[in-house]
């Protein structure tokens, strides 16, 4: 009982230590902006940003644009992640598949994905499908490359042991290949999210009439800086949820690698 309490005590303490530097910076910003040492037009005080964000969420278009971006990110991420994991596992396991598919993945992987967007718009039209597809391609490539690397570094002894014990293809994937490459898969998911978020924002800025990227761009054009900050707050919140959500899930699933 006292043990549990002490553990809870230290984790609260750790959270406090983690939040302290962030709160300190926010406080400095607030004071400097109030004293007009920081230009409050460009750097409105955090309290004002929070107020405007809340107000725009309730009365303004912020909730709608957040929902549109969230939907795009969610669909693109799911498509890219599942296809990337599937192809990556297959490429890692089967040599013929690797020989045929890997050259294309290796060729497209280092291309800045945004450069593919104009050609996709030209060929397929400026549609919602293309916007989502662009982000899912980025996620797919990063996840596929990392997953393949993960499968290939699995010790052959595990695979041999499974095969000698009569594991079928399904059992091999389920019990050896997937668990063995899980931490690389999650590294790929995290890299893919980083690139994918940038991509969806650029696409919304360039060629969309909805979404947080569009809202940021329009706010800039209209010089409504506070609205731009509100959109930035929402895209940051989405980023935190996705990036740290995937990170936490990865740590839970690869619990055997915890130090």
């Amino acid at each position: 009982m006292s043990h549990a309490r002490r553990r809870r005590h230290t984790s609260t303490r750790r959270l406090g230590l983690h939040l302290a530097p962030i709160l300190a910076v926010v406080l400095c910003w607030e004071v400097l902006a109030r004293l007009a040492i920081l230009n409050p037009t460009f750097f409105p005080p955090p309290s004002v940003v929070v107020g405007v964000t809340g107000q725009l969420l309730v009365e303004g278009p912020l909730l709608y644009h957040t929902w549109v971006s969230l939907r795009r990110i969610l669909i693109a991420f799911l498509i890219g992640a599942t296809s990337g994991i599937a192809v990556g596992l297959w490429m890692g396991w089967s040599r013929p598949v690797r020989l045929i598919v890997n050259p294309y993945v290796s060729l497209f992987y280092p291309i800045p994905k945004i450069a593919l967007v104009p050609i996709m718009f030209t060929l397929l039209g400026v549609t919602e499908t293309v916007r989502v597809l662009a982000m899912s391609i980025a996620v797919f490539l990063l996840v596929a490359v990392n997953t393949m690397g993960g499968v290939r570094q699995i010790d052959d002894a595990y695979i041999d042991a499974a095969l000698d014990n009569g594991a079928g293809t399904l059992a091999l994937y389920r019990d050896v290949l997937i668990p063995g490459s899980l931490s690389e898969i999650f590294a790929g998911l995290s890299l893919g999210l980083g690139v994918g978020f940038n991509l969806i924002v650029v696409i919304e800025m360039l060629a969309a009439k909805s979404g947080l990227g569009y809202l940021i761009w329009r706010s800039w054009r209209l010089f409504t800086i506070q609205q731009m900050y509100a959109a930035l707050v929402m895209i940051t919140l989405l980023g935190i949820v996705f990036i740290y959500g995937v990170d936490i899930l990865g740590n839970r699933l690869t619990f055997w690698e915890a130090e």
Partner: protein, 262 residues
């Protein structure tokens, strides 16, 4: 391994050949939508012969390099410091973790407002994106250096922080830093191209967007080829360079992991 590479080349060559035949010879696909590879190649060569296009190429490369240098200098110094000193890490770590999930390109309009010139804002935004990648990798590189090396160094009279940084921290974290550098240059290139698409005035991203808006299909493909070549050059060139330069890591340690945060 060598036969593997040969098969992989074969796979690529077969596809290019099939594409050329399908469009150029049999006309299965409309060349007005997807030109055959030979035509794209010709157009790329022709563009690379034009002085004005080379100006766009050099603008993009210059911006990417400048952003990468800034990201590396700040990323390595801050990252190594954080990996070495726990207090610095406790202070800066939470701040960086909180800011990291912001897609940097979303900050571009704000940065443009503050810097007032597009070109500097563009480089700063790209550098910011690269900074995080270099920093996390340098920090993790410095953290996994064994205490033994520090002890040996101090016992042998290396007491000044500069000597310790130069003799242990830097060479010890260099493999990780190289991974960070490669990711940072790729990030910088992505942000530079994106920013040029949005507000370049100059550069390959700008040229790509103008070609798209004027529906010059040949130019879109040719520019994409040049951008892809830069990306491929960065990724595989730096990997090659890293393998040549860093000869002191023991053979049994594998390539350092790619860290995006923490």
């Amino acid at each position: 391994m060598h036969t593997d590479r040969r098969y992989q080349m074969l796979s690529l060559v077969a596809a290019v050949l099939a594409w050329q035949l399908a469009v150029g010879v049999f006309g299965v696909i409309d060349p007005g939508v997807l030109p055959p590879p030979a035509t794209i190649f010709e157009r790329t060569l022709a563009l690379l012969g034009e002085q004005s296009f080379l100006g766009h190429v050099s603008a993009t490369i210059e911006r990417t390099l400048l952003a990468s240098v800034l990201a590396t200098v700040f990323g390595v110094s801050v990252g190594v410091l954080m990996g070495w000193n726990d207090t610095v890490k406790a202070l800066l770590g939470p701040l960086f973790s909180a800011v990291y999930p912001i897609p940097v390109i979303a900050l571009l309009p704000l940065v443009v407002l503050v810097f007032s010139t597009d070109s500097n804002a563009l480089v700063f935004t790209a550098a910011l994106g690269g900074f995080f990648v270099v920093m996390w990798n340098a920090m993790n590189g410095a953290r996994q250096i064994r205490q033994l090396y520090f002890d040996v160094a101090t016992d042998n009279g290396a007491t000044s922080p500069i000597t310790i940084f130069r003799e242990i921290l830097l060479p010890g974290s260099l493999p990780a830093i190289f991974v960070g550098l490669r990711l940072a240059m790729n990030t910088a290139l992505l942000i530079v191209i994106s920013a040029e698409l949005l507000a370049g005035g100059r550069g390959l991203g700008y040229y790509l967007w103008v070609s798209y808006q004027t529906y010059s299909l040949g130019d879109i493909y040719a520019t994409l080829v040049v951008i892809a070549a830069i990306g491929v050059g960065i990724t595989y060139g730096l990997r090659w360079l890293g393998d040549r330069l860093i000869t002191w890591t023991p053979a049994e340690t594998e390539r350092p992991a790619e860290h995006t945060f923490r």
